[in-house]
Symmetry: C2
């Protein structure tokens, strides 16, 4: 972050026509955003949403309530403007692109083999990196991939410690037996793939859309574009970066707390407090997109308000 | 609420391209909004913010960190577009009007006399009622009034029970001695004004801007306009309606949890769960305005998404 911009933003914040601290977390958000944008009085006008879709070999283990065909069907829904994320993009003035990542060639079943070859993983990371528009001033990464909460749980366990049962959740809606099955699948993955190198964990138990999200979030850092993290899968993908280099997610804020059980624990592991907690568990970047309004509110107040001197208001 | 519209909205919600319940509270919000708007597929395009300002005789008791002159100065700031609420109105496409309520004639010091005469109280209620645009599709009521957290605390204690110390907070920033002083002032008010009739409590210990907010929220009900409640003062004013008639706030949702200490207890008393919890304590309707984005997100998803049949997506 740009320390001069942070200082300038902090100074400006202290002069705005409100009691000190009265805008709560909006003040802190605006200063954080100012630092990454390199301006003490930034604007937020070009948010970008990138959605990555991938299919998962681990679906052969019966981990999802929905069939794998739904991934490609939902990509068509994104392209035709019918999904939740399309409505949220429109509501908050965000551009949106959708990247279907070799849906007819799912990852390998990670209970049997690494999910991706090195080449596949690097290709997905690169696709994610390239998907980011350098002129965007905010990034949301979303995903669609039937079976990917199981990948997310495997990443959580491998990156933060614990077993399958500590990290699996109901995803799109599995029952108790389905939940136990997901835990078994994660435990088998953890046993088969012993490396605890974060990128190797991503390759062995992640998926193309997770790798692409990690690539996009890293690209945003290079372009000084702040990121709003979405829920469980997005946070799992982002955690690969943080575990590779501490501080790698300083340009990211947690958009929401997902209803997917272990998301709160993962955010705690990253030291991130979510902006919203509304029980969403859809993916698609929907929770992060819903939080765009909060960040817009923060930046609008910070950059638009009059100072005590400008407004002729007594400052107490 | 319109039960046919609620039913229609609920049915539509079940057909949208997402796992059941995956949009969490956004689903419940959209159905609630649909019911009040009388349409199973409503739009949210004309939010209105009304700000009421009043001065408080109880400032003579030293209850605020800011001088009373700040009320009129902030009204000018609202009129010139420099306050936080102006930026939020712009960010969320809301219209905004400001109503200065006889600022040169403060209410009486409620430790010595009723804050308002019956005539003053009715005039303020009527001003609030008349301020609501019947063609709005969402209402936010905000306030400005140096000293009014003390009025809010007095209303909280009188309406929900308890003593001054249970309901006072730091407002714009009083210290420990200031907090104890506010509790004393509230206790003196409670002792002097024995009636526990909600409207009489409003008249004796409220203020013009609180009465106006109550009038506006009642008018919104008559016009079937959903309301996002703001923080401590707004919720105190709204509570007068709920205590007058149970269910009177069914058309209202709590926009945020204020950092003003007793707001959470007041929302619990009303059975309302806040949409946001970001530590705001500014007033002006700012917390409610920040939550407009959440409601917009909910309505956009509900009314804009494709159904499983429309999108050709398998529904699990």
């Amino acid at each position: 972050a740009d320390l001069a911009a942070c200082d300038g933003a902090e100074q400006r914040n202290g002069q705005l026509t409100k009691p000190p601290g009265a805008l709560g977390r909006l003040e802190e958000l605006a200063i954080w955003y100012a630092g990454w944008r390199g301006s003490a009085r930034p604007t937020l006008e070009a948010p970008q949403i990138v959605i990555f879709a991938g299919n998962h070999g681990v679906c052969a283990q019966g981990v999802s309530a929905f069939p794998s065909e739904v991934t490609v069907q939902m990509v068509a829904n994104f392209e035709h403007g019918g999904a939740a994320i399309n409505q949220l993009a429109k509501a908050f003035g965000a551009s949106m692109t959708v990247h279907a990542l070799e849906l007819d060639r799912p990852t390998e079943d990670f209970t049997k083999a690494p999910a991706m070859s090195e080449r596949d993983c690097v290709t997905a990371l690169q696709t994610g990196w390239d998907a980011v528009d350098p002129s965007a001033d905010l990034l949301v990464t979303g995903e669609m991939g039937i079976g990917n909460t199981t990948s997310g749980a495997a990443l959580g366990a491998a990156l933060f410690g614990g077993a399958g049962e500590d990290w699996v959740g109901r995803g799109t809606g599995v029952d108790d037996a389905g939940l136990a099955n997901k835990a078994r699948v994660v435990d088998e993955g953890l046993a088969l793939h012993a490396s605890r190198d974060p990128l190797e964990i991503l390759r062995c138990m992640g998926g193309r859309e997770l790798a692409a999200m990690a690539g996009a979030i890293a690209a945003a850092r290079a372009h000084r574009i702040p990121v709003i993290l979405d829920g469980f899968i997005c946070t799992a993908a982002a955690s690969v970066l943080e575990k590779t280099q501490s501080g790698a997610l300083d340009h990211c804020v947690a958009g929401h707390l997902s209803a997917e059980g272990a998301h709160g624990k993962m955010l705690e592991g990253l030291g991130k407090e979510p902006l919203l907690s509304l029980g969403l568990r859809l993916g698609e970047g929907s929770g992060a997109a819903a939080a765009i309004g909060v960040l817009k509110a923060a930046v609008a107040c910070h950059s638009g308000m009059a100072t005590f001197a400008e407004a002729g208001v007594s400052d107490g």
